[in-house]
Symmetry: C2
């Protein structure tokens, strides 16, 4: 595409590409923009080295190879800030550059936004379901080894408290946390059989009484007894990783209280998703460990965002074939809110036009911010922590049904003011 386009005068024309999702995953009420920060980092490093150029030299002409060798993005990018909500059609990213300069970024942009937004969107529902209780992300082992790091970052953005992925702690400052595995307890087995108490004692000896002991390797009631025997009633927490977590949490709470361990917390894990988390609301659970469903987007592992050419030299363009209608022309976006702060709709209107007119005390918040100018990342865009705070505030603006876990319509409609 790049080679063919660049031989033609059209190559020099100014293009606008937009990233948007045609729809939310089945029944979801909102999406969360994730990955913007990672994308801007990756953009700065996006070059073609000798190895890459050699790999494509078999089918690319010399002129295109020379163009790739010199490539660095010099255009402009606007977008929704990381941690912003999005809805069907929301122009979450807008790239302005000549055709080839913009097309060459398509896979990078979509891969990062589709992955991280899918994870952040699923994680936000889990955080919502957990209410004020913290969640630890512990799903690294169930997804690609590098995707796992991005998952931990996206989960933190969405309000998850900590991750077991230490590389995410190192790279992105995500708080880290972890507990022991069954293998640790099993290790303390000899010809006389298993010795759970010895395992717990070894863990407490090294990590102190504030540690979390995994009590379900053998019999849970005996496990709890061993845990308190090893650590005393000051034990930080016990973890339950199997069985009916609600029933077990109640039994374990009673047992802990009876043993005087009234401050010992209960951590539950094991195939938790947002629905299972919500079902445990009334149970004495203090912390959730979530793995597989979080890193796989709880049934929606990709956000399904697309990267579409919408404008060339000011002329709107759009694909016209069936079932994939697109709205041509660069779009701006505003979210309309009642005086109470509750949002009522998202309005998309032609970029550069006056923007939406509001009445009855409604306000309009513009959603796009400059991210890149002349190839340089705009200064002061805010940290991952800022994005996390932004999402927390944004979720409060949704109408109450917008936070529902059940299948439903998007929390607010998208209106095209064209």
């Amino acid at each position: 595409m790049i080679s063919a386009a660049r031989t033609h005068p059209a190559a020099a024309r100014s293009c606008v590409f937009e990233v948007f999702a045609r729809r939310l995953p089945d029944g979801r009420r909102y999406g969360v923009v994730g990955g913007t920060g990672r994308l801007l980092d990756a953009l700065a490093d996006f070059r073609f080295g000798d190895g890459e150029l050699a790999a494509v030299s078999g089918f690319l002409d010399d002129e295109t190879l020379a163009w790739l060798a010199d490539y660095r993005f010099t255009g402009d990018i606007d977008g929704y800030r990381e941690g912003e909500l999005y809805f069907p059609g929301s122009p979450v990213l807008t790239v302005r550059a000549p055709f080839a300069d913009a097309v060459v970024l398509e896979t990078l942009i979509l891969s990062i936004l589709n992955h991280d937004s899918a994870i952040a969107s699923a994680a936000a529902r889990m955080v919502s379901a957990a209410g004020s209780r913290p969640i630890i992300e512990m799903g690294s082992r169930r997804t690609h080894e590098r995707a796992a790091v991005a998952c931990a970052r996206a989960a933190y953005l969405a309000g998850v408290t900590a991750t077991s992925n230490l590389e995410a702690a190192r790279s992105y400052g995500v708080p880290s946390a972890g507990t022991a595995a069954h293998a640790f307890t099993l290790l303390f087995t000899d010809s006389n059989g298993p010795d759970e108490l010895a395992a717990f004692r070894a863990q407490v000896e090294r990590l102190g009484t504030g540690t979390t002991l995994l009590v379900d390797t053998y019999d849970i009631t005996r496990g709890v007894a061993h845990a308190i025997e090893a650590a005393g009633p000051e034990l930080g927490a016990v973890r339950i990783d199997s069985g009916d977590l609600g029933i077990l949490a109640r039994q374990v709470r009673e047992q802990l209280d009876a043993l005087g361990a009234r401050t010992t917390k209960i951590v539950v894990s094991g195939d938790l998703d947002e629905y299972a988390i919500a079902s445990l609301r009334a149970e004495p659970v203090d912390l959730y460990g979530v793995g597989t469903t979080l890193v796989t987007g709880s049934g929606a592992p990709t956000a399904g965002m697309v990267y579409k050419l919408v404008e060339i030299d000011g002329i709107p363009v759009a694909k016209r074939s069936s079932h994939k209608e697109s709205h041509g022309g660069a779009k701006a976006a505003a979210r309309i809110a009642r005086p109470t702060g509750t949002v009522t709709e998202e309005v998309l209107y032609p970029a550069g036009s006056g923007g939406p007119v509001t009445a009855d005390g409604h306000s309009a918040t513009l959603l796009q911010t400059p991210l890149v100018r002349g190839g340089e990342v705009v200064a002061g865009l805010g940290s991952l922590h800022d994005a996390r705070d932004h999402l927390r505030r944004a979720l409060v603006t949704l109408p109450w049904e917008g936070l529902g876990l059940s299948h439903g319509e998007p929390a607010i409609p998208t209106r095209y003011a064209f």
Copy 2:
């Protein structure tokens, strides 16, 4: 865990960890082991550098930090070869090493095997559904940017013909292929409106008549006419990316034939999964482009494999709590086949015992091969291409119902001969 275990005499004991999946994804008949080659590459590079050590120095003791700084794996690994079929309980990887040496690899091993096996398992069903027609993997933009490269590799392993991911071509020698996007056609729009013919002419000029022209940006019938006008009846292929692909393929075939373009192929893409591919069997489709469903494992984005301690100094160990029964003890595995070559069951038996006894001319093939000895990857393990060939041969051994796309039981039972 490592810190606590290493203070204890148990740390020196010889451990066996096994990787297995408790079950296949809902309704699947078989799984495909993917990622073994990537894992062995990653194992050779698995070290803790200054940056990693600094990141964990806040909570780890000096002795454990020193151990991590010197860490390299020196144990043994056996496993199913890449491209082998697996079933519930199959011990696809067996790690023999002291506790800490093996535990520190858990996330690396599971991440790679869970991801790549999920993709390979889904892709194999698509290849099966496509029969002799080739598939191009083009889903990079719908998954994490590094996972995308691994997806292309796993898809090729599973029999997919080529990938649009050029990094996978560079890193792993996967054949690459691609077609133009709608944006390319849209680029040729000016104040007089769109000019599809100019777009096709530009592409043919650069890439020759053997190229694939995307004909559904505007009206498909006109698109096909423009395609042949630009390239002549020698045009390589047209691609249809939307609409009812079966009906459109028939119409386009008739139109191409009427235009004398009898050798021009038809490529279809757009939300294809294994079921959609199968439903197009009777239609004049020459090649499938598959994206989202392939890189997300077609509903099963992780293989759900676990890494369990099964034996310590020759003593079998197993977690005993509810719903997660495990079989303790290191296991060997053999697949039993009739004289015709059709497999009948997978037998797991204690490693080091005599192995299964067969009768009636049945044969037993041992499934585990040495992968690592004393930390060094065993020589001559075979390439990605060999793994691809192996899978093709292995699928032929399944009973015919084992290749069914519909939900069902595993193609063969797993029997524990303990």
